[in-house]
Symmetry: C2
Subunit: 216 residues, 2 copies
C-alpha cells in the first residue's frame, strides 16, 4: 500500500505553520520567510534550481538529509486551497499557482477547493487537478494518480491537520523553527493524543531547528 | 545583579504546560505525570529524595545536566497561586502546599495570590510568603529575600508567561515532551517575537525530549 507523507512542514515554537495576513505579497503572512529559512540553506533547495547560479551550494548535513526526503517515492501531492494561492485566487481564472511554469512537484497535484476548475498542465510533470472532496475521497483519487507510489500532503496547516485527524497520515516530518509567531494558523490544534499512534522522534540540528518525525 | 531563571519547565509539543481539570488529585489535570516523566528518570530527581530507597538511581546524561541547574545559585523562588495548590486552596487555612513538610525549594518562596496569608515556615529552609503584587514588585521583594542570589520563577504557565511578557526573565529552560495534550494552559501565548531578545538553543535528548533555552 502506498504511504501518505508530510515533509518539510515548518512550524514556529508556538506551533504556527503560517502567520496572519496572508496575501499575494505575503504567502506566509507576517511570518515572512522565517519559517523556511532552514530549508533555503540546504543543498536540496539549491538543487531545486530556485537559487541564482553562483550562490552558495547549501549545507549537506542533517537539515538537508531530511529536506531531500521530499521527492523520492512520491507519486502525487494533495494540497489545500490556501496553499495554492492567496485568499481569493478562485476569482482569478488566470491564477496558476505560486511556483511559475515549472512547479517543484513534478507529479499530479490535487488542490482541494470548493470551486473546482479544469486541470492545469504545467512544465516538468506537474498537473494541477482541482477537487471538491473529503480527505478520504481525495486520497483515493490521488492514490490512483500516484500509480502505486506515495502521496504527499503538501499543506497548508488546516489540510495537514485534517488528514492527521482522520488518521490518514503515515509519516509526518515537522520542523520546529525557534521563533514565536504569536498568531496565524496552528498545526497541532485538536490533535490530543496523536502521539499514541506513532513513533515520535525529535532531533535538533546545528542549524537551530528541531526535526520532529511521527511515523507508523 | 542577580538573574531571573526558569528551570525544568515542561511543555507538550502543542505548548501546554498543564492539562485541563486541575484538582487536588490531579495537579496537572488530564496531563497526569506525563510532562514530568523525563525529570523523574534523572539522578537529580532521585537525589531530591522523593524516590523510594532501592529504586533505580536515574540517568546522568543531558536530561540530568539540565535538571540539576534547578538549585545552584538560587536564593528565592516566585510561584503563582495555581502552583501552590489546587483550585480553592485559598479557602483552606490548613493548606501547606503540595510538597509535604520539607518542600524542594529550600529558600524563601513567594506565592503570588490576591488573598495573602501569614508566612509559613517549613522544614529544610523553605518559607512560603504570600504576596499580592505585580511581577515587578514581587521580583523586588524576592531579590531582597535572595540576598544577591538568583530568583527562580517556578510556574505555573500563567506566571512564567507574565514574567516573560514583562521582560523580567534572563534564562528560560523549557522542556518539550513529545505528547499532544490538546487542551490546558499554554506557555507561549501572547509572546510574539520573544526570541529576538534572547539567544535560543534547542537540543534533543536520547530520552526523547527537547531542551529549549532562552538566555540573555
Amino acid at each position: 500500500m502506498s504511504r501518505v507523507r508530510v515533509h518539510n512542514f515548518s512550524i514556529s515554537l508556538d506551533g504556527f505553520a503560517t502567520g496572519e495576513g496572508q496575501s499575494a505579497d505575503a504567502p506566509f503572512g507576517h511570518a515572512g520567510h522565517r519559517l523556511v529559512g532552514w530549508m533555503k540553506a540546504t543543498r536540496f533547495w539549491h538543487e531545486l534550481g530556485v537559487v541564482e547560479p553562483g550562490e552558495e551550494t547549501g549545507s549537506a548535513g542533517v537539515d538537508n538529509a531530511f529536506a531531500e526526503r521530499f521527492g523520492p517515492g512520491i507519486g502525487a501531492e494533495i494540497m489545500g486551497a490556501n496553499k495554492f494561492g492567496p485568499p481569493g485566487w478562485q476569482d482569478d481564472p488566470q491564477w496558476r499557482g505560486w511556483w511559475g511554469e515549472n512547479p517543484p512537484f513534478h507529479t499530479p497535484t490535487y488542490v482541494l477547493t470548493h470551486r473546482p476548475r479544469p486541470a492545469l498542465a504545467m512544465d516538468g510533470g506537474t498537473t494541477f487537478h482541482f477537487l471538491d472532496a473529503t480527505p478520504q475521497d481525495a486520497l483515493a483519487v490521488a492514490r490512483e494518480g500516484a500509480r502505486g507510489q506515495d502521496v504527499r500532503i503538501g499543506g497548508g496547516p488546516g489540510t495537514v491537520r485534517q488528514f492527521l485527524a482522520a488518521g490518514l497520515v503515515d509519516h509526518l516530518h515537522a520542523v520546529q523553527v525557534p521563533i514565536l509567531l504569536g498568531r496565524g494558523v496552528r498545526l497541532w490544534d485538536g490533535l490530543e493524543g496523536l502521539e499514541q499512534h506513532y513513533r515520535v522522534e525529535a532531533v535538533s540540528s546545528p542549524g537551530g531547528v528541531v526535526h520532529l518525525t511521527f511515523s507508523r
